[in-house]
């Protein structure tokens, strides 16, 4: 858990005709983080040919993307829904696949064109309606129709038997057809159409023997009739638009199974091709290499031997052996080795950087440090409970999605739990002291009402706790740094750096001196001799760092000559290093006072809201009014949101800048095997 998993490197040589079986096995096991074999040593690239995948990867990716696009229309994400199985891997005819998707695309295009046509009708009818709205009296409109620059208003008659057909024919265009009087065998019709459609409208009118007539004002239709006819038409068009939208969705729904099948096969072929892209070949063999967790070596070996019927050559090496063989520093991928419970903290670490292979994985330390810091800043049972519940529901809603959001919600749940625990320790329940504190009453301490004999009685006591905590975190960071340096065999850095033995010596000594002086209110300081041994000696020892470094590097860089300026450089380097150690460590330690600051702010905000609630009640001691409760509810929500966020961010900041900076060796790369189970 403290160190990432041990890794092994594999170089494999298989016969050409076993390549398919081997690739399938590699994909099925999903264990190997591939490394191009030509990267392992100079000269290999000239002797080996790179193997090109059998299928065009870009085309596969494009087709896969197209399917994802269609499935996204019905809110389906195949990457999350489909479990890949190597048995489903079949050879794929990309042309046929493309034709199939094009078929769906064409059908969709047809529906979209219909939708567009209907939409334009809707827009035109809405435009007619807007024009009608501008116009007060429809009768005047008929007399001066040119005012409606793109509308034609006419009244006329047709034979009653033609009425239905006439209406059907007119329905093809954005028109308003109002029948308002039937005389003998004739129907009087009021027609509004677009001037643009005049030729077609005239044809229909001719077909049904339309006769223009002038009608008496009192008989002409009302504006309301026109509007209601337009509304009816718009409603029908919108219904049709809805139907087409449903149709387009159903089209994808009907094809869902087939699309998912195609996607699965494309994805498998993509992964298959990706593995083969790492192969290098000679005339009759294929070579590949990669990293995997040491504990999985046997599984992969067995599978490869089986796939090749023992006709393969496998060479296993650990990172040190690889470096010896290749004479190059190996960038070994890092596989975290943490339990699922620590995933949120692993996410925080990865967000910063991936630790270098062989160095400490900070995840478990971050988990402890982060939660303690959060608890100190946000100690309240009620607030913690709300935070936990909110985090739980958000986490539950994300249960089907793997990834950052779910991990973040899990972190919120943890923060809620630690806030509950620290709430019990500080005796705070929605800012009220319902039960006695198990450790000390935080609110009482900051307002100066702490009882006699309490562990912590004032703000300074709280600040002292956070300083102690800061010293512990920094000390742990320094110890972890030594472990990393020893494991990396960086002996020079182990002694002569700020985080090494000399720097740490000065830090611990400095801390002791400060506490010694503080006990006597800075009136008494340790004896001068002692000060020399514990502070100045390591400082003086730092003087030999630059010349030692010069001597060690002079072999590698013979062009660097010793001059008088070199002495000046060494002096400057020493001065800067001392400044950095003194001011850096001081700032790092004091930085932890923000934990107390945030905790105090949390408590004071609650006190402020209680005072406001009291004011709303009319004065101290009076029963709360409804406004008092509103203020308290609002205040609690604000404190949970604002302080929760601040405490979360500050805990992260302290981990990243005060803790990680002491020991974390980033610049590693994550273990990413070509895998059937990778959701990305």
């Amino acid at each position: 858990m403290i160190f990432p998993e041990k890794m092994k490197h594999l170089i494999a040589v298989v016969l050409d005709h076993d390549v398919d079986e081997v690739t399938r096995e590699l994909l099925n096991l999903s264990l190997l983080h591939f490394v191009s074999i030509t990267d392992l040593g100079e000269g290999l690239s000239s002797r080996l040919k790179t193997s090109s995948p059998l299928m065009n990867q870009t085309q596969i990716l494009d087709l896969k993307k197209r399917i994802e696009t269609y499935l996204a229309m019905i809110k389906v994400n195949p990457a999350e829904n489909i479990s890949l199985d190597i048995k489903d891997l079949k050879s794929i005819d990309l042309k046929a696949c493309e034709d199939e998707i094009n078929g769906l695309s064409d059908k969709m295009h047809y529906v979209r064109e219909q939708q567009k046509h209907i939409q334009q009708e809707i827009l035109k009818l809405e435009d007619i309606k807007r024009q009608m709205d501008l116009f007060g009296d429809i009768r005047t409109g008929m007399k001066s129709s040119s005012r409606f620059s793109f509308l034609n208003m006419q009244t006329g008659t047709i034979q009653r038997s033609f009425t239905g057909d006439f209406e059907t024919a007119m329905a093809e265009y954005p028109t308003v057809v109002l029948k308002f009087e039937k005389v003998e065998n004739q129907t009087h019709i009021f027609l509004i159409s677009l001037k643009r459609d005049d030729p077609m409208i005239h044809k229909i009118q001719d077909k049904y023997h339309w006769v223009d007539v002038e009608i008496a004002d009192e008989l002409s239709p009302m504006k309301e009739d026109v509007i209601s006819d337009l509304d009816a038409k718009l409603l029908k068009l919108r219904e049709n638009q809805e139907k087409l939208l449903k149709q387009s969705m159903e089209m994808v729904h009907d094809q869902r199974k087939r699309l998912e099948e195609l996607w699965t096969n494309l994805k498998l072929n993509e992964l298959y091709g990706r593995i083969q892209a790492y192969y290098s070949k000679t005339d009759r063999t294929m070579l590949f290499s990669g990293w995997l967790p040491a504990q999985a070596q046997k599984v992969l070996e067995k599978a490869l031997l089986k796939a090749t019927k023992n006709r393969c050559y496998l060479e296993w090496s650990n990172p040190v052996e690889m470096e010896r063989k290749t004479h190059t520093k190996q960038n070994v991928p890092v596989k975290f080795n943490n339990p699922l419970l620590l995933r949120p903290f692993q996410m925080l670490v990865q967000n910063y950087d991936t630790p270098k292979y062989g160095t400490i994985d900070p995840t478990p330390f971050v988990a402890v440090a982060y939660l303690i810091m959060f608890g100190l800043m946000f100690g309240d049972v009620g607030h913690g409970f709300i935070l936990f519940i909110a985090g739980f529901f958000a986490w539950f809603s994300q249960r089907k999605h793997a990834g950052g959001t779910r991990d973040l919600m899990q972190l919120v749940m943890y923060c809620g739990l630690i806030a509950i625990v620290s709430g019990f320790l500080f005796g705070s329940y929605f800012g009220m002291p319902w039960f006695p504190a198990l450790w000390f009453d935080f609110h009482a301490a900051i307002v100066g009402h702490a009882p006699e004999g309490a562990t912590v009685r004032d703000v300074f006591g709280i600040l002292k706790i956070t300083i102690y905590f800061g010293i512990s975190v920094i000390s742990l960071g320094l110890v972890l740094n030594w472990v990393n340096l020893v494991r990396e065999k960086k002996w020079f850095n182990l002694v002569f750096t700020k985080g090494g033995i000399l720097g740490s010596w000065m830090y611990f000594a400095g801390i002791w001196v400060c506490f010694y002086a503080a006990e006597s209110n800075f009136r008494l300081w340790p004896d001068g001799n002692l000060l020399f041994w514990i502070i100045f000696l390591p400082a003086l020892l730092f003087i030999i760092k630059p010349p030692l470094e010069f001597l060690l590097h002079s072999r590698k860089h013979p062009e660097k000559r010793f001059t008088v300026m070199t002495l000046v450089d060494w002096a400057m380097e020493w001065i800067v290093e001392m400044l950095e150690i003194f001011s850096g460590y001081l700032a790092n330690t004091l930085s932890f006072m923000r934990v107390a600051g945030l905790g105090i702010a949390h408590a004071y905000m609650m006190i402020a809201f209680f005072q406001m609630a009291q004011m709303a009640a009319g004065g101290p001691g009076l029963p709360y009014s409804i406004w008092s409760y509103v203020i308290l509810v609002f205040g609690n929500i604000l404190v949970i949101g604002l302080e929760g966020l601040s405490a979360g961010i500050q805990s992260l900041r302290l981990n990243y800048y005060e803790f990680f900076s002491k020991y974390f060796s980033g610049s590693g790369r994550a273990y990413e095997p070509v895998s059937l189970r990778n959701r990305n």
């Binding site: 696009t69 269609y70 969709m108 567009k116 024009q131 040119s146 620059s149 793109f150 638009q241």
Partner: protein, 355 residues
Amino acid sequence: MAGSVSRYAFINAKLRARISKMLEPEFISTLIRSPSLNEAIQQLQGTPFAALVDIYTKTGDLKLAELELLKKEISLYRDIKNHVADDVQQVVTAMLLRFEVENLKNTLRLWFESALRQGPIIDTSVYLLRQNILNDIKIDSILSAKTPEDLIDSLKGTPYAPIISLQIPWMLENKSVFRMEIALDHYFYDELWNAIEKLPPRDLDIAHRIFSVEIDVQNINRLIRFKNSYDFSFEELSRYLITKGSKIKGPLLSKAFSQKDAGEMLSILLEGSLSGLKTMLGQMSDNQAGQLTLIEKVLSEYLMQQVRQILAGYPFTIGIVMAYFILKRNEIQTLITILNAKYYGLSEERIRSRL
């Protein structure tokens, strides 16, 4: 110094965060590769342009989706206006005027087509923006105006009534709204320049730099197009150029005008302050349309260079606001170009050549 930090600290952080969320070149490339308009639009799901997916899926109407983009762009200006100091607000307001002027120009073209030429306009008029940007402009009243007098009447209460009124005689005589459009452009640039002049020196310098490029692009375009296509005299053409902020004036202008060939004209226009562009114009095509496209591309690239300089420089200036607007407009234009190209089934190469 402290003043500029407090003026721009918030908006600088906000806009830089937004700039980082703009569509990446890889995404644009994926859009270009999409085989159909529907698939291209669906890919916008999960981006700041997700509203387009909804509109297109429900209506199948690309123009409606474009109208949504325009509304979105306008709302961005309004949003940013709320977060800047008074003098910068005035500049943003003046920049918003561009949308109003462009919408009014489109409306006037349709009114002219409908009222004076009796042509059909409904296919286009339905896609006009019908929301007030700065002034209360009644688009439908303008479109239904029967006479020029009705038109002026419908614009009453807006600053455009006197501008349009002055151009009516020329419009009736020449059967064109050309001068109306030029007058509206002049109004916009005058307002913009007046707002810019009130900025403090550092902001003023940046604003001058950016808008001068834009104005020169307009002027070069007009100079080449108007001289060769309409055979205008020097005096007449000078009237159509934007004077405020332009570096193309005086002897440079008359010298350029005296050239017959568009290429020579360009080469003269790009001397002096725009000389840096000459090197970017390595390959000039022979035909005039090609030259104009090329110069537009080069000037747009020049503008992007200015934006990059602004983003890399001192952050607490109006530059960040202007850089954001330019980048956003560029992003929206790119999106519109790709989606239209998909609608018309253009090949990937042709789309890339148009971007």
